[in-house]
C-alpha cells in the first residue's frame, strides 16, 4: 500500500511539476484577453513559409550534429570501452567534460580561437582565417560546437553497452574472424538500438538548443521563435509557434518508444567487475593513442586552455569574484538542493519504471524523457504561466521555482540511472526482506539503498551537474537578485571584458567538476580500504 501510494505520488508530482506548466502554456495560447481565439495559430499559418525554412534549418543542424556525434562517438566509445588503449579512463572523463558545461561556453572559447580578431586571425590574417571565422558564425560553427557538447552522450552509451555484450558471442565470432569483423557483424548490431537511441537524444537536444545558435547568430527555429516574442511581446504567438517543435519532439520520441525501447530494455548495461572481452590493439596501440589524444587536445583541451589563458590574470579572477561571488554561492546551493530533490523524485520514478508497474511506468518514462528534450525556456515560460499568481507567490518569488524547473527538466537522468542500478540488484533481495516482515520503506532503506549507493551517488552527481549548468530555465524564472552563475555570465557578456568572462567560465567549470573529483577520490579511497 505504502509502496503503491509513494510511487503513484511520485508519478503525479512529475506530471504536476513538469507537464502541467507546458499544458498551461499551450492552453493560454488559445486565449487573448480572456477570450478564446485562434489568432496566434492563424499568425503561425500566415508565416508558415518562413517558419518552414527555419524548421528546415533546425532539422539540418540537429541531423548534422547527431550524425557527427554518432560517427565519432561510436568508434571512440568502442576504443575506450573495449580495447587496451592506454589512459582510456582519463580519456573517458576528458571527453565527457564538454557535456558538463553549458554549450555556449564552448562557443565562447572557440570564438576566441577562430572568430574575427581571434587567435587564428591574429596569427594568420589571411583569407583562410577570414573564411574560418565566417564559417564559425553559421551552420558549421553551430554544428561543431554542439557536436563537441553532445558527442559524449553517444560515447558514454556505447561504452556502457559495448562492454556488456556476452563475451561468448564475441569469442564464437573470433574463432572464425578478426576483431574488426566481429565488431561490425556481431557487437555493434547487438547494441544498435542503444546507439540509435543516443543519436535520437542528441538530435532532440540539438533541436531545442538556443544558447549556441544565438551566440553564433545562426537563425534556427527555437531561437527565432523566442526572439519573436522578445520583439513583439506576444506570448500566445510564440507559444503557438513552439507547437511544431513539441509535435516533432513527441513524434520522434513516440517512434523511439515503438521501435527501440523494448530492444534497449533487453540490453543489459555493463556490470562493474563483470567479465568482458577486451581487444588487444597490438601494433595499433600507439597510433590510436595518438589519434585519440590529438582529438582530445583539439576538441576539449584547446578550448579549455583558451579560457584559462584569456582569464590568466589575478585581476580577472579578482573582478570575477567581486562581481559574481554571490551568484557562485547561489548556484552551488541551488544545485545541491536541486540534485537532492531530483535524486529523491528520480529514485521513486526509477523504481516505478524498474518495477514495470502497468500502466504507469511507460507514461512516466516517456513523460520524463519528453520534458528533458524540451527547451528549458519553454518549461520556464510554462512555470510562469502556472505559478505566477498571488496564491502561489511564496513559490514563484523564491528559489523553489528554480527547483521545480530542475525537477521538470532533469528527472529523467536520476530516473534512468536508478532504473539501471536497480536492474542489477536481484529482486529476490527485496522479496526476502518483505517476507521477513520489513515494510517497503524499511527494505528500501536497509537493503536497496545500500546496495544501490553507487548508482544513487552517480544520480546525485549527474543531477548536480545539470542543475549547475542550467541556463534555459534559470534565465526565465530566477527570483530577482538571485541569478545563477551561468545567467550572470550571460548578462555580463554584454560589454563585459573578455578576461572577466573567461575567468567566470573557468570558475563555473571548476565548481562543476570539483565535487565529481572529490567523490571519485573518496570512492577510490573507500574501495582501496575495503
Amino acid at each position: 500500500m505504502e509502496k503503491r501510494l509513494t510511487l503513484v505520488t511520485a508519478a503525479a508530482l512529475l506530471a504536476v511539476i513538469g507537464l502541467l506548466p507546458v499544458l498551461a502554456m499551450v492552453a493560454s495560447s488559445f486565449y487573448i484577453s480572456g477570450s478564446f481565439s485562434l489568432k496566434a495559430y492563424q499568425t503561425l499559418l500566415a508565416s508558415s513559409q518562413q517558419y518552414a525554412l527555419l524548421l528546415g534549418r533546425s532539422v539540418l543542424l540537429s541531423f548534422l550534429t547527431s550524425a557527427l556525434a554518432t560517427l565519432v562517438g561510436v568508434p571512440l566509445g568502442v576504443v575506450i570501452g573495449k580495447t587496451d588503449l592506454p589512459w582510456r579512463g582519463a580519456f573517458a572523463v576528458l571527453f565527457t567534460v564538454p557535456l558538463l558545461i553549458p554549450p555556449y561556453l564552448i562557443a565562447v572559447a572557440w570564438g576566441a580561437i577562430v572568430g574575427k580578431g581571434g587567435w587564428i586571425s591574429q596569427a594568420w590574417p589571411s583569407a583562410t582565417s577570414n573564411l574560418l571565422s565566417t564559417a564559425f558564425f553559421g551552420l558549421p560553427g553551430c554544428t561543431g560546437v554542439l557536436f563537441t557538447a553532445f558527442m559524449p552522450i553517444v560515447m558514454l552509451l556505447t561504452i556502457t553497452y559495448v562492454g556488456a555484450v556476452n563475451p561468448r558471442w564475441e569469442e564464437a565470432g573470433r574463432l572464425v574472424s578478426r576483431w574488426p569483423n566481429v565488431l561490425r557483424r556481431i557487437t555493434l548490431p547487438l547494441i544498435a538500438p542503444a546507439i540509435l537511441f543516443a543519436a535520437i537524444l542528441v538530435f532532440l537536444l540539438a533541436f531545442g538548443e538556443v544558447g549556441v545558435p544565438t551566440y553564433l547568430r545562426y537563425p534556427v527555429y527555437p531561437v527565432e521563435i523566442l526572439t519573436q516574442f522578445a520583439a513583439f511581446y506576444d506570448f500566445g504567438a510564440a507559444t503557438a509557434a513552439a507547437i511544431p517543435m513539441l509535435v516533432i519532439t513527441l513524434a520522434i520520441l513516440t517512434l523511439e518508444y515503438r521501435l527501440l525501447h523494448n530492444s534497449i530494455l533487453e540490453l543489459k548495461a555493463v556490470v562493474p567487475g563483470a567479465a568482458r572481452s577486451q581487444i588487444a590493439l597490438g601494433s595499433w596501440r600507439f597510433l590510436l593513442f595518438g589519434i585519440v589524444l590529438s582529438w582530445a587536445l583539439l576538441t576539449v583541451l584547446l578550448p579549455l586552455a583558451v579560457l584559462l589563458i584569456q582569464s590568466a590574470s589575478p585581476s580577472a579572477y579578482g573582478e570575477a569574484l567581486s562581481r559574481a561571488s554571490d551568484s557562485i554561492v547561489r548556484s552551488l546551493a541551488f544545485a545541491v538542493i536541486g540534485a537532492t530533490a531530483l535524486t529523491l523524485l528520480g529514485f521513486c520514478c526509477g523504481y516505478l519504471v524498474h518495477s514495470r508497474a502497468p500502466p504507469l511506468w511507460r507514461s512516466v518514462d516517456a513523460l520524463a524523457l519528453f520534458l528533458f528534450t524540451l527547451p528549458g525556456t519553454v518549461i520556464g515560460i510554462g512555470l510562469i504561466s502556472l505559478w505566477n499568481t498571488p496564491m502561489t507567490n511564496a513559490v514563484y518569488g523564491s528559489p523553489a521555482i528554480l527547483i521545480l524547473g530542475y525537477l521538470a527538466q532533469y528527472t529523467v537522468l536520476p530516473m534512468r540511472i536508478t532504473s539501471a542500478t536497480l536492474e542489477r540488484i536481484p529482486r529476490s533481495l527485496e522479496h526476502a526482506a518483505r517476507l521477513c516482515g520489513a515494510s517497503w520503506f524499511m527494505s528500501l532503506w536497509y537493503i536497496v539503498a545500500p546496495l544501490a549507493k553507487h548508482g544513487l551517488i552517480a544520480a546525485w552527481l549527474i543531477s548536480y551537474v545539470f542543475c549547475l549548468r542550467d541556463l534555459g530555465i534559470s534565465i526565465v524564472v530566477y527570483p530577482p537578485g538571485s541569478d545563477t552563475l551561468p545567467v550572470r555570465i550571460l548578462t555580463l557578456m554584454a560589454n563585459g571584458a573578455p578576461s572577466l568572462i573567461a575567468a567566470l567560465c573557468v570558475i563555473l567549470i571548476v565548481v562543476t567538476l570539483l565535487p565529481l573529483g572529490v567523490v571519485s577520490l573518496w570512492l577510490r579511497h573507500g574501495a582501496r580500504q575495503s
Binding site: T214, E224, T227, A230, F232, V336, I381
Partner: protein, 339 residues
C-alpha cells in the same frame, strides 16, 4: 559510508533553511528592479544606491544575447502578479509599451524636473535619463563622410554599408521615428532603398560597429556608446551626428527610462530608487563609465568625447507616437527582415 548518507540530508536541510530565511519577508527594506541596461554598467549604480540608502536591491538583468526572455518579457508575463517595483529600460519605447499594457504606474519624481520634456512622459509614466544618440560610425578611411541617415540610400554607398537588425532595439525605434516624422510612404520607400542599395543586416549595433572598425563597411547607424567604446580601443573610426543641417531631421536620441510598476510589492522603495536614478550624480557616473551615456540634466560633468545634449540638434519626436507606430509597422519590418 553510513555517516556519509546522513551528511546529505543534513546539508540539504541546512541549505533549505538558510535560503528560506533569506527569502522570508520582514527583513531589510527591499526594492526589486528589472533592468534592460547592461549589467556591467547598471549594477554599480544599483550597488551605490544600496550603500547610500540601506535598501536591498534585487535585480533581474536583461540578456541581449538570447533576447529570449529578457526583463521586459518577464514584466509582461508577470502582469497579473507583479514581482518588480521598478523597470530600468534602456529606451523609452519599452516604457511606453508597458504604459499601454497597463503595467506602468504614474510617478513624477522631483529629481526629474531638470530633464527636458521631450524625454519624459507628461503624466509621469516614465522619465528619461542618461541617453545615447543614434550616430553614424564611419571608418576613418571613408571618403566622403556620410552626414545623414538617408546616406544609406545614396548609390555611392551601394553594398558598402551595414545596419543592425531592424526588428530589435534602437534601430527599430529609429525607423519607427522616421515613419512618424516622414509618413508611412516615405518610411517604406526608405526601407526599400536599403534593400535596393544592398545594405547588409547585422545582428546588433555592436556587430555593426565592429564590421566598420575592421574596414569591411564604410559606415553604419549605431548607438553613441558603441562608437565611444571603439574609439577608446583606438580603432580607426569616427563618430558623426547625422542630420544636423538646418533643414534636416536631427539626430535621434534614446534615453534610458525608468518606470514605476503598477501593483508592485514595494512602491515606496521603488520611488526612492527612481529618485536616485534621476539624480545628476547618476548621470555623471553613467557618462564617465564605458556606457558613455549623455546626461539630460544641464550642467552635468562629462568626458570630452561626449557632446552635451544642448549642442546636438535632436530629432523632434513624440515617443508615445513612436511606440504606437512601432506596433503597426512591425509586421512590415518582419516581412522586410525575411520573416
Amino acid at each position: 559510508m553510513k555517516k556519509a548518507f546522513w551528511i546529505i540530508p543534513v546539508v540539504f536541510v541546512a541549505l533549505a533553511i538558510a535560503l528560506w530565511r533569506y527569502y522570508s519577508p520582514g527583513g531589510a527594506p527591499t526594492v526589486v528592479v528589472y533592468v534592460s541596461h547592461d549589467q556591467v554598467f547598471s549594477e554599480p549604480i544599483l550597488k551605490d544606491f544600496e550603500k547610500e540608502t540601506g535598501i536591498q536591491v534585487r535585480a533581474v538583468y536583461d540578456t541581449e544575447e538570447t533576447k529570449s526572455a529578457g526583463a521586459m518579457n518577464r514584466l509582461i508575463a508577470e502582469k497579473r502578479n507583479p514581482q518588480a517595483d521598478v523597470y530600468w529600460a534602456n529606451e523609452p519605447i519599452r516604457a511606453e509599451v508597458l504604459r499601454q499594457q497597463g503595467i506602468a504606474a504614474p510617478y513624477i519624481s522631483p529629481n526629474g524636473a531638470g530633464i527636458p520634456e521631450t524625454f519624459r512622459d507628461p503624466n509621469g509614466y516614465w522619465t528619461g535619463f542618461a541617453a545615447r544618440a543614434r550616430v553614424l560610425i564611419a571608418h576613418r578611411g571613408t571618403s566622403p563622410k556620410p552626414t545623414s541617415m538617408l546616406s544609406y540610400t545614396d548609390p555611392q554607398w551601394r553594398g558598402k554599408t551595414v545596419i543592425a537588425n531592424p526588428l530589435f532595439g534602437t534601430t527599430t525605434t529609429q525607423i519607427a521615428a522616421l515613419f512618424v516624422l516622414s509618413g508611412d510612404e516615405r518610411g517604406r520607400a526608405f526601407m526599400q532603398g536599403l534593400r535596393d542599395n544592398a545594405v547588409k543586416m547585422s545582428p546588433s549595433n555592436g556587430d555593426s560597429a565592429d564590421l566598420v572598425a575592421r574596414g569591411e563597411f564604410a559606415f553604419s547607424l549605431v548607438d553613441s556608446d558603441d562608437v565611444v567604446n571603439r574609439m577608446k580601443q583606438h580603432q580607426p573610426v569616427e563618430m558623426i551626428y547625422p542630420d544636423q543641417g538646418a533643414n534636416e531631421i536631427g539626430c535621434f536620441v534614446v534615453p534610458n527610462a525608468v518606470v514605476l510598476i503598477a501593483g508592485s510589492p514595494h512602491p515606496s522603495a521603488g520611488k526612492k530608487l527612481i529618485d536616485y536614478l534621476l539624480t545628476k550624480e547618476t548621470e555623471r557616473k553613467l557618462a564617465f563609465s564605458d556606457a558613455a551615456q549623455i546626461p539630460l540634466h544641464p550642467d552635468v560633468a562629462m568626458p570630452p568625447y561626449l557632446q552635451p545634449i544642448a549642442s546636438i540638434k535632436v530629432m523632434k519626436v513624440n515617443y508615445m507616437e513612436i511606440a504606437s507606430k512601432l506596433q503597426t509597422i512591425l509586421p512590415f519590418l518582419k516581412n522586410w527582415a525575411g520573416f
